[in-house]
């Protein structure tokens, strides 16, 4: 086997190594925390108030694990390429790094981010807002690796395999991605924000699929296999599916009434708003917005439940499929509890809905984000 099982303590030590280096390089700023949703397997989201920078620091980046990982041993690690290719075989990390490097700064959002906001409630990790971040991923293009292997025209789907090994009879987390998408945008990343990819985020190699939900971003990659058909199994045929036609909240869709989750939906969140403000005095409201489209066209906020909207200023920093930071000087016109909300419109004209489409697994929640401000005269 190209990997060894490690226990949780070693996993944590490995995860800590790059962080120790990073900590020496910078001065402390504030007392921060991550919100642990599950102790094992580790799942943690970032407090929304900390997601204020264009590039999310590695140590603040949300962590999603299906189960306690069996992380690859970097010395023995190989990436196996087989399936519909002319030249199947294994490739080492150093061989991989000799290919031209590619970089993408883009959003990674867990498909289930916001599951805890759906009503009626659904089983699963009750993510609220912070299973999302924007990072700079460095690696090699999937296209270059597959061209090197001689991918055949018959291949339409890239089957991806991590070293995850679930307990008991739990189905393996095996996925596939449409080949057209990964040939266009996919990266096999070995670095995150200029540092070696942390173990918690999939070291030594993770698939990056800009604009698509996190279930495609396979961690601890050990095998790529182009195939004519999509992957089978629980995590393709039952989970990570979204209704083709919206239904009433609580309805149970059959698998054939749904299609795999792919692109992210247009979404904005408010990260900075005062708890208290004074009428007729301006205060700053900030946030981020992203979509499965390459860019955000505008973000608006409303203080009258969507009757009127005020356009915010978009931060000029942007990369395809990255988030846009936005800000707005908002002047409350009246005293009392004022409910602010934000909505984004992406570069394809998709408008963030007031209510996300209910689905039985709680994916892609993108309702308007409401924040209350107490305004005094």
């Amino acid at each position: 086997m190209p990997f060894d099982e490690i226990d949780r303590r070693r996993f944590l030590l490995l995860a800590a190594a790059p962080l120790l280096v990073a900590q020496k390089a910078v001065a402390p700023r504030a007392r921060e925390s991550m919100l642990q949703m599950n102790g094992y397997a580790v799942n943690a989201e970032t407090p929304l108030a900390l997601l204020t920078e264009y590039v999310t620091p590695n140590e603040l980046f949300f962590v999603r694990s299906h189960w306690i990982p069996r992380t690859p041993n970097p010395k023995k690690w190989r990436l196996t390429i087989d399936g519909e290719v002319d030249r199947s075989g294994d490739i080492t990390l150093s061989e991989l790094k000799k290919l031209p490097h590619a970089e993408a700064t883009c959003v990674l959002q867990c498909a289930g981010n916001g599951r805890g906001l759906y009503s009626p409630p659904l089983p699963g990790v009750q993510w609220r807002y912070g299973a999302v971040g924007n990072s700079r991923w460095t690696g090699v293009r999937v296209r270059d690796v597959l061209e090197h292997a001689g991918v055949k025209p018959s291949a339409k789907h890239l089957h991806v395999f991590g070293s995850d090994d679930p307990p008991g009879k739990v189905p393996p987390f095996h996925r596939s991605v449409e080949l057209e998408k990964v040939l266009a945008d996919g990266i096999l990343a070995f670095a995150m924000n200029g540092e070696p990819l942390p173990v918690a985020h999939g070291a030594p190699l993770r698939l990056i699929v800009p604009g698509w939900a996190g279930d495609h971003w396979m961690k601890w990659l050990v095998r790529l296999s182009p195939q004519a058909e999509a992957q089978k199994g629980f995590y393709m045929e039952t989970a990570y599916r979204y209704p083709l036609t919206p239904g009433a909240p609580g309805v149970a869709f059959k698998p054939e009434e749904m299609a795999p989750v792919t692109e992210l939906f247009v979404k904005s969140n408010i990260t900075t708003a005062p708890a208290k403000a004074r009428a007729k005095h301006a205060c700053e409201i900030r946030g981020f917005a992203f979509s499965g489209a390459p860019d955000i066209a505008k973000v608006e906020i409303s203080d009258d439940d969507g009757a009127t909207w005020q356009e915010t200023s978009l931060d000029p920093r942007h990369d395809p499929y990255a988030w846009r930071l936005w800000s707005h000087h908002w002047t409350p016109s009246r005293s009392g509890t004022v409910r602010l909300c934000a909505r984004a419109t992406d570069s394809r004209g998709n408008v963030q809905p007031r209510e996300a489409t209910w689905n039985q697994s709680g994916y892609l929640q993108n309702s308007w984000h409401f924040v209350d401000v107490e305004v005094t005269a």
């Binding site: 962080l19 402390p28 700023r29 991550m34 094992y40 397997a41 943690a44 620091p57 409630p121």
Partner: protein
């Protein structure tokens, strides 16, 4: 001279860039991520739930749920299909415990943690 000025400016820009790099300081009193978990409240069925669920999940996974009896029954059945060990005779008590404590009105607060190394 002009070249030296350009070099100085470039170095200044580089240092400025390093100095503005985001600094993160976590509360050192917080537990490290993955080392402290919620505990389950006392009650009939707790023992069965712990024995069957804890091999793969910390209590956190349970205490954040807000499920009806129908949903909890479906979850327990799914986990048994996936390898959780639970006697059929223990299932009613386990489901009743889960519904009583983690039903639709349940409130959950995540554990505040810091990453390892902070």
């Amino acid at each position: 001279m002009k070249r030296a000025a350009i070099i100085v400016l470039a170095l200044a820009a580089a240092f400025a860039s390093a100095a503005t790099k985001r600094s993160v300081a976590f509360d050192p009193n917080l537990p490290v991520l993955g080392t402290k978990f919620h505990s389950l409240p006392a009650g009939t069925g707790k023992q069965q739930v712990e024995a069957s669920c804890f091999p793969c999940h910390s209590a956190d996974m349970l205490v954040q749920q807000r499920l009806t009896e129908k949903q909890w029954t479906a979850e327990v059945d799914k986990m048994i299909r996936w390898g959780a060990v639970m006697k059929e005779s223990d299932k009613p008590a386990a489901v009743a415990y889960l519904v009583k404590n983690f039903g639709p009105a349940n409130k959950f607060t995540p554990v505040r943690t810091r990453p390892a190394g902070y």
